[in-house]
Symmetry: C2
DNA sequence: AAATAATATTTCATAATATGGAATCACAAT
DNA sequence: ATTGTGATTCCATATTATGAAATATTATTT
């Protein structure tokens, strides 16, 4: 569970971690000056932390342009984190079943900071080439999984980072409107997005819990808004809640 | 490229990173006392660093037993590192071709500390269920890819961590014997292992270079020792070097 | 080729932080 | 209730991290 209190006594470690987080799929390579600027750290401090990350191979340098990028040590840890995630393994059959039964795309996602990371995705037959989103991250406030997560996770709303980015004209970025939605989500048991992430794209999302009831991540079913009417989304939401319940370990 | 000099002025960051590296596929969950013992750090220091890693979601806690484990932040970074790795994408068609033409298993691997991490693997038709090694790590001295890597990478031998672990009776763990092999490998252009990682399992490995000639990782073809005779291995080695050369970007 | 600009790396005094022993808290087992 | 085990917090100070400035390296311009 995400801690909202910043720990004391490990500032250097936190700074190093935050440098790592500056590398994204969109911006995979960065130079020292860029990193110092983006992190707000003094150039020397930045350089020194980068050297530490290099020495442990969490970062690597592209010899062609000397830019820093995530390295093999990061790959190893990432793969380990993924393979240690039991949820992903157990969810796969359910995702397939959901996709087949609904004819839409089903995903499993986990929260990372103020985003949702797609851990697994099974595409429907309708959208060819719609696959390939595994590993991508999307703003938490604009996804059905994200909204479900915020609604049900303890301190969930603390993940939001105002000002919220409007991705479409329908994206909900007002605090009050979102809070209202969270109440609805809690009552209903699942969340919805309609043209909020992308025009013409809608989805429903429901949280998945662990054995102690803690929120682990979320499942979604999504597709073109033209196919996801109000009544259809209600149907899908119910199916999703059933699936999510089946995923929860029992004791 | 791995730095052999330990950076000054980032001790706390390094300590945090080394805590992360204690989590493996074999031991995915650990408690505070175990981590303190394994890292040699004072328990308080360990605890504080763990709190930092938790707050950034690189670690997570299993509520069922309070054990620490790698978290979603780690998954996100790992996925980003993998998707940013152009080599993996470009190597895939070649791996398929190699596996088809040889009837054996082909892998792409990168070095992480004193191990080789399998980034991609295409299995032959002979061994059913031999797939699934992606993300696994193997001792660098006992794999053909690892030996090729050590032979050709600048400061490659610095990766070795004596005492070397004997995995089979044939594993080469003597420094002098290994150095002799490195000379042979450099002359030949590829490396071989015969029953060194596992009894009845052999392979050949050749390094892959980047645009500036730097060593990025290695390709291997491997299978049952009964099929990989001396002459066969020479053949495979030659094919591998050709493939590796094709993978290198040109300018 | 030389000069200039941009970027990266190193130095060093000291302010700030990280450290760890000890105390306290929380939980499980008896 | 007591005991044992593991986790968390407190606080004085030793140690480290910090950052301004200097230096080195590389790229770009003239």
């Amino acid at each position: 569970m995400r801690e909202t209190v910043v720990p004391q006594g490990a500032q250097a470690a936190l700074r190093a971690i935050r440098l790592l987080k500056l590398f994204t799929s969109e911006v995979p390579e960065l130079h020292l000056a860029e990193l110092a600027d983006m992190s707000g750290l003094n150039k020397t401090t930045t350089h020194r932390l980068l050297q530490a990350l290099l020495s442990e191979e969490l970062l690597d340098r592209n010899p062609a342009n000397s830019a820093y990028r995530l390295g093999p040590g990061m790959m190893a840890l990432g793969v380990q984190a993924l393979s240690g995630n039991q949820l992903r393994v157990r969810a796969r059959p359910l995702l397939k079943k959901l996709a087949e039964e609904t004819g839409e795309t089903a995903t499993l996602e986990v929260p990372v900071d103020d985003t949702m990371l797609i851990l697994d995705e099974v595409t429907s037959k309708h959208l060819l080439g719609a696959s390939g989103n595994v590993g991508t991250r999307w703003p938490i406030h604009a996804t059905s999984t994200g909204k479900a997560l915020i609604a049900f996770e303890q301190n969930g709303p603390d993940r939001l980072r105002p000002p919220l980015l409007p991705l479409t004209s329908r994206t909900i970025i007002e605090h009050a409107a979102l809070q209202q939605q969270l109440s609805d989500i809690r009552r209903r048991g699942f969340a919805e997005t309609v043209d909020e992430l992308e025009d013409g794209f809608s989805g429903v999302g429901a949280v998945v819990r662990g054995s102690m009831g803690e929120v682990l991540g979320a499942l979604s079913i999504c597709g073109p808004s033209s196919r996801l009417s109000d009544s259809r989304r209600a149907q899908l939401g119910a199916a999703l809640c059933t699936a999510a319940t089946r995923l929860q370990p029992r004791y």
